[in-house]
Symmetry: C2
Subunit: 145 residues, 2 copies
């Protein structure tokens, strides 16, 4: 595992989660990988895989309260997006706004400034599922509309 | 990085890609992580992150013909889902069909028998984007409907 680049943002760590929807960041890919970005801008959305370098605790709690909210049921960490997991790989679907060389501007990347990027992948029709089931607490609190 | 489990399927490697849509596999999570699966079955779809252990070539081609088809334009590897990439992490959105303890039955996991699993994450509304742009060749060949 090796970083292919880093996240650049001026948003402070503590605000990243709550400002995610409007947050615009820059992904700066190492020059050596410039050719590996060829035509990436033909996609409107990307998966970004990143290393949650500030979340790698030595002790993993297997069950957590989602969002740290004790009113929500204790839930297996694999059923949450919590950062404190056996392999602290973060995953975000982001909007690709612009690419200039090795600099990619994206919206909705919930990663801190300086986060190492592990991979970029195109998001395509096969990643879109429109009728999905989520837990009741998730639907109550987070459902769009 | 450590495997949290393995993929179990009887489908031969060579058929995985073309049979993906109907393919049913088992994800066998190590017993030590059983609690980390609590309530995962409340979600209908999951992200599966896996290590493409048969694809870790020493030489990474930065540009590839998607699907190995020379009629398709040379494309940056980060704009493809090709397995031969700097960090060979595979990503699939799968349907969760059933969980029994540490055994999870899923559909649409395009991973070979014996593939190490790195992470499971819930797929939720924030991962669904309905109006997406893909390259022309992708839309021509792969678009559903």
């Amino acid at each position: 595992m090796r970083p292919i680049g880093y996240v650049k943002t001026e948003i402070p760590d503590k605000d990243v989660s709550k400002r995610r929807a409007e947050m615009v960041s820059e992904i700066v890919i190492a020059d050596q990988w410039q050719d590996a970005l060829t035509d990436i801008e033909a996609y409107s959305h990307l998966f970004v895989l990143f290393w949650m370098h500030k979340k790698s605790d030595n002790v993993i709690e297997q069950r957590v309260h989602p969002r740290g909210d004790k009113n929500l049921p204790l839930t297996g960490v694999f059923a949450t997006r919590s950062g404190n997991r056996p392999n602290p790989i973060g995953l975000a679907v982001v909007e690709l706004l612009q690419r200039k060389g090795t600099h990619i501007t994206v919206r909705r990347l919930d990663a801190y400034d300086g986060t190492p990027i592990l991979d970029l992948k195109p998001y395509d029709d096969y990643d879109v599922f429109q009728s999905i089931r989520v837990p009741e607490w998730w639907a109550m609190r987070c459902r769009k509309k």
